[in-house]
Amino acid sequence: EPEVTQTPSHQVTQMGQEVILRCVPISNHLYFYWYRQILGQKVEFLVSFYNNEISEKSEIFDDQFSVERPDGSNFTLKIRSTKLEDSAMYFCASRRGQANNQPQHFGDGTRLSIL
């Protein structure tokens, strides 16, 4: 069964450094998402992406964050200048269509640790 893949599985970065988290969505999916989950807390929406542009973003997704689909397969989340509070699991998800009966499929996540 096709799945969403994320790399790396764990990223350790110094505060203030830039980090890029990578995702390969399921190939025939058109909608892509990034979520964040701080340890022990709920899954929080960051951003959705369709047709090469951001369709929705949350308050968390400030100017430090950006997303890109640099080629036909990868979907990346960049954090420009990381802060301690950016430490979390970051999940990528993809969805075939926007119809309400379409589930989102999650990757295994990237654990980001900011030192």
Partner: protein
């Protein structure tokens, strides 16, 4: 606005039943249920659409009351493998999927 889940946590013995509730203050188009085991990604269980449908997945089923803007997840004859945190996610007009804080379910032998 995030949906409200209850209870926050529940402990069951194998074979017991549980109900997890999810309610929203907004008119809902759909409710999504996911289960997340510790250190893993959320795994999709089922989607319920407006129209008040009910769905089942083995011994896990759910209902969606559109008028009350509520959904309930029913776990019957629970197994050890059911342990995890259950999240409901809700979609409304022009709003992306928003998750509740989760219900931690622990099934013990």
């Amino acid at each position: 606005q995030q949906p409200v889940q209850s209870p926050q946590a529940v402990i069951l013995r194998e074979g017991e039943d549980a109900v997890i509730n999810c309610s929203s203050s907004k008119a809902l188009y759909s409710v999504h249920w996911y289960r997340q085991k510790h250190g893993e990604a959320p795994v999709f269980l089922m989607i319920l659409l407006k129209g008040g449908e009910q769905k089942g997945h083995e011994k896990i089923s759910a209902s969606f009351n559109e008028k009350k803007q509520q959904s309930s997840l029913y776990l019957t004859a629970s197994q050890l493998s059911y342990s995890g945190t259950y999240f409901c996610g809700t979609e409304s007009l022009n709003t992306p999927l928003v998750f509740g804080k989760g219900t931690r379910l622990s099934v013990i032998a």
